[in-house]
Symmetry: C3
Subunit: 181 residues, 3 copies
């Protein structure tokens, strides 16, 4: 604690697996942040698609629908088909459901990657090996998003999901291996 | 390793960015835990709304519906409109869908905040700057929840979501900046 | 920084709460990784149920439906009842919705456990106490999954969920206690 209060803050704090002096942690932080921002991108894209198709989730969002209509001067276009399904809310537009499915899939895969990756960094993996895990995962999620939204013919989406899934499992297995031995 | 086994456990362990001797980490831990508990609050609120509207997710939950009915001595009230939509399950009640949408939005925003925040703490941000990021984020999510559940007129909900979203992106940009330079 | 560049990498890096020299962190890493992998198991199970009931999420997945049909040489079986609900897509099969609900519940509970647990480890809890938190949580989520998928009569599922929920809150309360005092 002494040298902590002596102005050597940075030095005493920066020695550790979980610090920006450890290249494996720096890479992990970068790729994880990029993957989470990719997920944030889908959130923004969802809003774009909601406006484009005038498909909103709650009654108070109807002000947005009126806004879009008054700006475009028309009720036509890619309207979410309100009422057609007798559900009261026009909240099941296929375009919007596609982005939402993509977002949920990101949550189900990117978050576990970051969490298991935090433990994986602690196992002191070889730098190259770790880096390729991160690269492969981020690439697989980018391909997955494109395959989901274009959409590309299957099994592109399934395979890209599988690669990210397998990458995370590979990291998890190393965590178990280090714990057990 | 020597001093680790010499009883100096606390001292050797508590020097680091990720420890409760680093005020930036302590604040982050507090605000993150509060944000996650807020999300847990929505989960509890969902159960309350399910009972109030007698809208349950699966057939085995029907014992709860019978329980509510026998307690209240009536089949009337805010019933989920079972069968009315011909979907077999009365699982799409608007009140319950509203809480569920809120919960999902929390997942999509609070979890990324905590994950990116973990890396952000590692970049050794100025304490004041970090603290204001955490405060703004937590406040924005509280306002978002209130705006979603009351509900308040738009764009209250959209704006409160946007502030939390921008806060997380601001933290992510600092992580990238530190990694690149 | 000196000894960091002197080949004593492992030693200087492995002293800390968040390292594999801290038994409480090792246990936490193991149980957390196991819980996240359990969630990954549900993802794989979802795919299995989609194939079994021929219920796919998007039009491009129809190639899989044709594949299943040609392999089984029949259109009968547990078909998702396409068109019966007039929603165009047969994406609301009860069996698949059950697995999806389970997956979402895992996201809502397992991720918060890992995040709050990361801070909890930093509070230096008694090893035994920490270990029982982790064990109880993992066990409760395993019982929850079985109760959800069999399905077992209620309140098995509700109680198992409640135990995991309470375990995470107990860890959060310790984080707050350490921060405040």
């Amino acid at each position: 604690m002494l040298h902590y209060s002596c102005g050597a803050f940075n030095d005493s704090m920066s020695n550790g697996l979980y610090s920006f002096t450890n290249p494996a942690f720096v890479s992990f932080a970068g790729y994880s942040t990029a993957a989470v921002l990719k997920m944030f991108g889908i959130a923004a894209y969802t809003i774009g698609q909601r406006f484009r198709t005038k498909t909103f989730a709650t009654p108070e969002d109807d002000v947005y629908k009126q806004l879009v209509s008054s700006l475009l001067g028309s009720e036509s276009g890619l309207d979410g088909g309100s009422g057609a399904r007798g559900r009261g809310r026009d909240c099941m537009n296929a375009v919007v459901e596609r982005v939402r499915g993509n977002h949920l899939n990101d949550l189900e895969n990117i978050i576990p990657f970051v969490l298991i990756g935090l433990f994986y960094v602690g196992t002191q993996p070889k730098y190259d090996c770790a880096l390729w895990h991160y690269r492969l995962f981020l690439l697989s999620r980018l391909v997955h998003t494109i395959a989901y939204q274009v959409p590309l013919p299957q099994p592109t989406r399934t395979l890209s999901w599988l690669i990210g899934y397998a990458t995370t499992i590979s990291m998890a297995l190393r965590v178990f291996k280090i714990i057990i031995y």
